[in-house]
């Protein structure tokens, strides 16, 4: 045990019988990955609370000689923590889960590659085939898109629909949803790249979400569309956006140009620059 400069305690953890130093309180999944110990996972995202739905990161926690299978994303590092990540049992269950994923998202290259990395190349289960699937047969219902939309963006534009094997993700009633800000954070966090959207003309069309259409801001300087209007409005109302009046409506490119030109021409500013 040692104390780091930043006040965080380093403690000893045992992973697969080897001892390591790790930061107390850290999520074990991150610790393991940082130490180069490979644990697959699909539903963990640093910006969100651990969710524990994908079940791929299951490891054995050893307490008093007894083991308990627990998702690594839910374990916090503490002194004396003992973990096994590669017992025959874990490998067996993990491989079967990969088979379930291969059947659930047969079109996902990410899943195929990930499963293949652990030696699973085919599934014994019936593959799910959905015609005109807005998520291209790639969704594994990890819920990251729903959670990021609700918890980070505060939009709650999409949610789980139905339950059990009939669960899907979409907008309410599969209709165009004006609550969507078009930020595309959902697509960014999606582990299987299932979410499709495209900027068409002056609109962003969220094709996966019932073609929800969000108008884009047009840069008054160059006339190009650049970011979703509703998202920009929200960002600009925040006092911490720190943008000066002259440039706040400009696209990123024109903003850079503005600053470059100002440097050259020494244009005096009237707004309080942050």
């Amino acid at each position: 045990m040692s104390l780091l400069g930043n006040g965080k305690r380093m403690v000893t953890v045992t992973i697969n019988k080897n001892q390591y130093l790790a930061e107390e309180g850290e999520i074990f999944l991150l610790t393991a990955n940082r130490l180069g110990i490979d644990i697959p996972h699909l539903c963990y995202e640093k910006a969100l609370e651990p969710y524990g739905a994908c079940r791929l990161c299951m490891v054995d926690v050893v307490t008093c000689g007894k083991t308990d299978m627990t998702p690594a994303c839910t374990i916090r590092v503490q002194n004396g923590l003992e973990i096994l990540t590669d017992t025959p049992q874990i490998i067996k269950h993990r491989n079967l889960l990969f088979e379930l994923y291969l059947a659930e998202a047969p079109k996902s290259e990410v899943i195929k590659e990930m499963a293949a990395k652990y030696g699973v190349t085919k599934t014994r289960f019936l593959k799910k085939i959905v015609h005109d699937d807005p998520l291209q047969g790639k969704c594994i219902l990890c819920g990251l898109c729903v959670r990021v939309c609700e918890e980070i963006m505060g939009a709650s534009a999409i949610s789980f629909i139905n339950r059990g094997p009939y669960t899907v993700i979409n907008t309410p009633f599969y209709e165009h949803n004006p609550d969507c800000e078009g930020c595309a954070a959902c697509a960014k966090v999606c582990p299987t790249n299932a979410i499709v959207f495209e900027d068409i003309g002056t609109n962003r069309v969220m094709q996966s979400w019932s073609d929800t259409t969000v108008p884009l801001m047009i840069c008054p300087e160059c006339g190009k569309p650049f970011a979703p209007q509703r998202l920009m409005e929200k960002v600009l109302t925040k006092p911490e956006s720190g943008l000066i009046e002259e440039i706040k409506d400009l696209c990123p490119e024109c903003r850079r140009k503005y600053f470059t030109l100002r440097e050259i021409r020494k244009i005096p500013t009237n707004g309080g620059q942050a």
Binding site: E104, F125, G164
Partner: protein, 563 residues
């Protein structure tokens, strides 16, 4: 009227007693869901019409269910000074005759099931008297004689819609004793000493849970009653709430006082409209007597209960999904810890107990922990109510001490297979449990022994299967149930159960192969070990136990080319 003293309670008790044992005949019609289903309300309405029209001097009340569902509609007739007589399989046409005879101090002997000369309500004793000797005594009826009624002590005998009758047989005296003369910690100590374990299925010591909740940091806490009973074939909680709602309220009141909690919730499934109606009425009546609200029984303690209804999801019986549902969110379980006792409803420490757990509390306080722990077996004290259903002769609510063998329940109380058929197995614990074959019927019914044979106690459903039952189909039925009730959050439960169902469908339709059986075993194991909540972790039990005990039935269904 607000009850503030022992004298007040005593005067209500006397009034209640005269309602149960009036100076004129009293007729009670069994109108729990089971009674209503076979015409109980028609009988009640017909009788009411006759009595009102003619102005007869007869008290007519609705009663709950005495537990012998097979014999419903059951009507009880009490002639002053004589044994109470239970009439069975009564039809609306019998109404006129029953009333005419009751006015003469007689009963229709052809409809008589049994007579009750006196009854031990545990919180009070009622003597009815002798008479009607030609009718068998209650204790001579096989279905009743092996039972021990603690939770069901009032069911079917008192009017669940009248608080006076509950107080009449000693109800709320435990609450009075607790609030006025017991230290809150003593109450928790008493419940701990009684050995009461959670009746929802997991069997966690109730007193310990109370203590953890009490010690949890925070001043605003909740106690919640889990009335989201949803196992196929299980209706113990429904009956407890429909037949004796005040027993639950009194249990919660005592628990709240012990834990120093001021807000209570009953989370009840919307599919139980009659239970909701009777609970709502019971809450209003309790408030009117000051048994809920501010300064209850002049003790300075405040407590009230609200009802929260579910929206038809089995998974909402899981504690964290239940809390989410109460908060208005989708009922999906979350990771534990933190447990509800730490972070429950609206983030506050919450004590969650099953209906029947709460119902045990008043008698523990009235009779004491030692009296209670003498019932049942060591480590499994008290009684448990089971709903004995399926292909068994005597269908109904059965209450026996824990540790009673399945054989006693199914053969002695249930009289074996329906219509003389051979019993083959019994499913305990609903979709989370397993099927136990006849050769293991000497297994005592308690939390540990049922686990050892691969099933679990669950909340108390016992579904009997006979020689005609296809056990593979039973497994398929339960997997279908669990799969459609899965919330869909984690992959083993959502996808794993779906594939178990597909494979079982294949086997039942005669297209299965030997490989399918291996996959069933393998997949069941993974679903059990890797699912997020109890639903998935226990859902494969019906498959695993039928494979273990009835493997030959699977073999028979395997297509010949698969051999």
């Amino acid at each position: 009227m607000i009850i503030t003293s022992h004298e007040d309670l005593e005067s209500v008790r006397k009034r209640g007693l005269t309602k149960i044992q009036p100076k004129h005949p009293r007729i009670g019609v069994g109108t729990s869901s089971c009674g209503i289903a076979v015409g109980g309300m028609q009988i009640f309405d017909r009788m009411q019409e006759l009595i009102q029209k003619e102005g007869y001097d007869i008290t007519l009340v609705k009663t709950g269910c005495i537990g012998f569902c097979k014999e419903e509609p059951i009507v009880s007739v009490t002639i002053p000074g004589k044994s109470q007589v239970l009439l069975h399989k009564v039809r609306p046409d019998d109404a006129e005759r029953i009333i005419a005879l009751a006015l003469k101090g007689e009963i229709p002997e052809d409809l008589a099931l049994c007579r009750i000369p006196d009854w031990d309500h545990i919180t009070g004793n009622l003597v009815y008297g002798d008479g009607f000797e030609s009718v068998p005594d209650y204790g001579e009826i096989r279905f009743f004689s092996h039972q021990k009624k603690v939770i069901l002590r009032d069911s079917g005998l008192i009017n669940p819609e009248d608080i006076d009758e509950y107080i009449g047989i000693g109800g709320y005296s435990a609450a009075f004793k607790a609030l006025n003369s017991m230290d809150p910690d003593t109450i928790i100590e008493e419940v701990k000493k009684s050995g009461l374990r959670g009746r929802g299925g997991a069997g966690f010591p109730a007193g310990l849970k109370w203590e953890i909740t009490k010690k949890a940091p925070g001043t605003e806490k909740f106690i919640v009653c889990n009335a989201d009973e949803g196992d196929p074939g299980a209706y113990m909680n429904r009956n407890e709430m429909e037949s004796d709602p005040h027993m639950l309220l009194e249990g919660m009141l005592i628990g709240a006082y012990g834990m120093d909690v001021h807000e209570g919730l009953i989370y009840i499934r919307a599919e139980y409209p009659l239970a909701i109606e009777r609970l709502t009425l019971a809450l209003d009546q309790a408030r009117a007597y000051g048994l809920l609200g501010k300064n209850i029984l002049n003790s300075g303690f405040d407590f009230d209960i609200q009802i929260a209804t579910g929206a038809g999801a089995f998974v909402c019986g899981e504690s964290t999904a239940l809390a989410a549902s109460i908060e208005g969110k989708t009922g999906r379980p979350r990771l534990r810890p933190p447990r509800l006792t730490e972070k429950g409803v609206f983030g506050r420490p919450t004590d969650l107990n099953n209906v029947e757990t709460w119902c045990n509390v008043p008698v523990i306080i009235t009779k004491g922990a030692t009296w209670y722990s003498d019932i049942g077996a060591k480590g499994n004290t008290g009684t448990k109510v089971f709903s004995l259903v399926g292909k068994v002769e005597n269908i109904g609510m059965v209450e026996v001490p824990l540790g009673t063998s399945l054989r006693t329940i199914i053969y002695d109380i249930g009289s074996g297979g329906a219509g003389g058929k051979e019993v083959k197995a019994v499913q305990t614990g609903g979709p989370s449990g397993g099927c136990i074959p006849v050769r293991l019927f000497d297994t005592p019914v308690d939390f540990e022994n049922l686990n050892m044979v691969g099933t679990m106690m669950g909340s108390g459903g016992l579904v009997v299967m006979d020689e005609d039952t296809n056990m593979v189909d039973i497994a398929r039925y339960f997997i279908n149930f669990a799969s459609s009730e899965s919330c869909g959050k984690c992959v083993p439960c959502r996808e794993g159960l779906k594939h178990l169902l597909l494979i079982l469908n294949r086997i039942v339709s005669g297209k299965g192969t030997r490989d399918d059986i291996e996959i069933l075993k393998e997949l069941s194991d993974t679903v059990q070990k890797t699912s997020l909540c109890g639903l998935g972790q226990t859902a494969p039990n019906p498959v695993l136990t039928t494979l273990q005990y009835f493997g030959e039935e699977y073999e028979k269904l395997i297509a010949p080319e698969g051999k």
